[in-house]
């Protein structure tokens, strides 16, 4: 039983990682843009959820929807005004720009809200425990697992079965070819950037319970989001899903059994994995 509950905890954390990281994977895959500021969108989402619940009395789910919309809109504005200038710039400039953006967002949040960490108050129907028959477990973690799985299915359907999904896949595989058969990759990118940032915002709100929420959030989890994307593969929704679950569970289990060196194993495994398969879990070699 102990093992099952540990596993469930890890899965819930993994789902949060998936929801936050999936947008990063797709946008990096599309444009090759190294966006280290992705976690900052997740943080903003968390703050929108907390603020709108506390000050406007919004219930949890509408607050999440608001976070999605607000952050997606904000992301489009940023993408059109600033990111778009750097698509042809070097990796280094992109790294520099997005680190700068992270600092700015951290400072603005610290100035506006304060440096202390925030709590998301869960609604009554998500608090407490649910009886699964063989074990009682936190309702919220179960809800996270359900939500993550549903999202995964929805994204998978969208990716594999819709026209836009097909265009995205085509552009990730070979951008120039996709453009020459008439796919407007720039517009596609704006769309996925907005969607991905919106999802990150939802992940920030949903995950605040597990990952916490304070101005240092984007830096603290930067390595995790990047590891998930690198292991899952660029532009690969299913790959990111399994990578996130794997890392969520491993991290959770290792932190319980090896509280001191647990994180070391994550880095070591990532290192070995990326050396063996630099294209990610399902990546094709030489792609």
């Amino acid at each position: 039983m102990d093992l099952v509950s540990t596993l469930l905890g890890g899965l819930a954390a993994g789902m949060v990682l998936f929801i936050v990281s999936v947008g990063l994977s797709v946008t990096m895959g599309l444009m090759g843009f190294v966006n280290l500021a992705h976690g900052a969108f997740a943080m903003l989402g968390g703050y929108v959820v907390v603020y709108s619940m506390r000050h406007w009395g919004l219930p949890f789910s509408p607050a999440l929807a608001l976070a999605f919309a607000a952050v997606a809109l904000f992301a489009v504005v940023l993408e059109r005004t600033l990111y778009a200038r750097l698509y042809r710039a070097s990796e280094l400039d992109q790294v520099l720009f997005t680190i700068g953006l992270v600092f700015v967002m951290i400072a603005l949040v610290t100035l506006g809200v304060g440096p202390e960490s925030q709590r998301v108050v869960l609604p009554a129907w998500l608090a407490g425990q649910t009886d699964l028959g063989f074990l009682k477990y936190r309702t919220y973690s179960l809800a996270l697992i359900a939500a993550g799985t549903l999202l995964m299915l929805a994204l998978w359907l969208g990716f594999e079965r819709t026209r836009i999904g097909a265009k995205i896949r085509a552009a990730v595989d070979n951008r120039r070819m996709a453009e020459s058969v008439g796919v407007d990759v720039g517009r596609l990118f704006t769309l996925t950037f907005a969607l991905g940032s919106g999802l990150a915002a939802v992940g920030g709100g949903l995950g605040a319970e597990i990952l916490g929420l304070d101005p240092q959030y984007p830096l603290r989890y930067l390595a995790y989001f990047l590891i998930v994307v690198a292991v899952g593969g660029l532009g690969k929704v299913t790959g990111v899903f399994f990578a996130a679950l794997l890392i969520g569970v491993l991290d959770f289990v290792l932190k319980i059994y090896f509280p001191k060196g647990g994180t070391m194993f994550i880095y070591a495994l990532t290192l070995v994995f990326l050396l063996a398969r630099p294209q990610g879990i399902f990546g094709k070699h030489g792609a």
Binding site: M28, G32, V34, L82, R85, L86, A89, E91, L92, D93, Q94, V95, L96, F97, I99, G100, L101, V102, F103, V104, M105, I106, A107, L108, T110, L111, L219, L222, A223, L226, I227, V229, A230, L234, K260, G261, T263, M264, Y267, A268, T270, L271, L274, L275, P278
Partner: protein
């Protein structure tokens, strides 16, 4: 200004010393006499310049983008710290060599493994290597002191003559300046050598360098190793000067910080490390304590502006201005 020179003459003259290259060292010495109460801070600046210079070799000349350069700074720092704390090896100069050796070997080994990848994967792998070392330093606390590190280390006098000056940092400052000068001379010779030219060639066009038969990966790995050794020396000087080591020598914060410093100053141009380190550290020193949030906001905006408008840093801007001036 004279007319632009033909490329061949320009190339042959590149490595010659310019009169103004004396200025940084004269200024370094002058600072010793002018600001006797700021020498502890000055030593930190010198260490940071050396660290940024080592990064310039891989980033600016070889074109390898790394997020984990603090791994080597930390390797050097911990080498010196552990030798002193556990085996009583407190002679500073041999400590420097040991630090360079250990950090260089770590650099060669990790470079040999990592440099077959590129782009995001390489970025992630350098980050992971550093995080791995950081976690290892945290875990094996018997050797490394864990989270608290190793405070209160003391070292033998430099060359048996100059005691480390705990109060005013006088000998530390001159020691750091001398080490920086030696390392700078090495880097300067290196980047103007055929080896350095081939690194630049790899940065500018890998395919073409492959095509002309240059051993691309071997060159990159060697540059990575040399740069790691220099970063290790910087870490060692840091420990000699301050007398402590802790996990902060290895973190993402230090790695990102040195990257920012180098890019602010201008990478791939030797003196960018100097300008960037002085500018950044003086601003940080004066602003970050009093207005930490404003400092972070300003730093962030500054980085975004540099990425968008001033890709070659402060020195690049100065160059552009000078060119515009002389074009009149």
């Amino acid at each position: 200004m004279s007319a632009p020179l033909p490329a061949a003459i320009e190339l042959a003259r590149r490595h010659r010393w310019q009169w103004w290259e004396v200025l940084p060292w004269a200024a370094g010495l002058a600072a010793f006499f002018l600001f006797p109460t700021y020498l502890a801070f000055g030593t930190q600046v010198l260490v940071t310049i050396l660290f940024a210079l080592s990064l310039d070799l891989v980033l600016g000349y070889a074109g390898i983008v790394t997020l984990g350069h603090a791994a080597f700074f930390g390797a050097g720092a911990y080498t010196v710290g552990m030798l002193a704390a556990h085996w009583g090896w407190t002679e500073p100069l041999s400590g420097l060599l040991a630090a360079a050796l250990v950090a260089g070997l770590v650099g060669l080994a990790s470079g040999w493994v990592l440099l077959r990848t590129h782009g995001l994967t390489l970025l992630m792998l350098t980050l992971c290597t550093m995080a791995l070392l950081e976690q290892a330093a945290n875990m094996f606390s018997g050797l490394t002191g864990g989270f608290d590190g190793m405070p209160g280390l003391s070292f033998k006098p430099i060359l048996g003559l100059f005691e480390f000056d705990v109060l005013y940092f006088r000998s530390q400052y001159l020691y750091a300046l001398a080490v920086l000068l030696l390392c700078f001379l090495l880097v300067r010779v290196l980047v103007y050598s055929p080896f350095g030219r081939s690194l630049t060639g790899i940065r500018e066009n890998v395919l073409r360098m492959h095509a002309v038969g240059a051993p691309v990966r071997a060159r990159q790995v060697i540059a990575y190793g040399i740069s790691a050794a220099l970063a290790g020396v910087a870490g060692a000087v840091f420990v000699h000067a301050t007398g402590y080591v802790n996990l902060a020598v290895l973190g993402l914060e230090r790695a990102a910080g040195v990257l920012i410093i180098l890019i602010l100053g201008g990478y791939g141009r030797l003196y960018g490390a100097f300008v960037g380190a002085i500018l950044y550290m003086v601003l940080e020193h004066t602003l970050s304590k009093a207005y930490p949030t404003a400092w972070q906001l300003g730093l962030g905006l500054g980085l975004m502006a540099v990425a968008l408008y001033a890709r070659n840093g402060v020195l690049g801007l100065a160059d552009a201005l000078r060119r515009r001036w002389s074009a009149r």
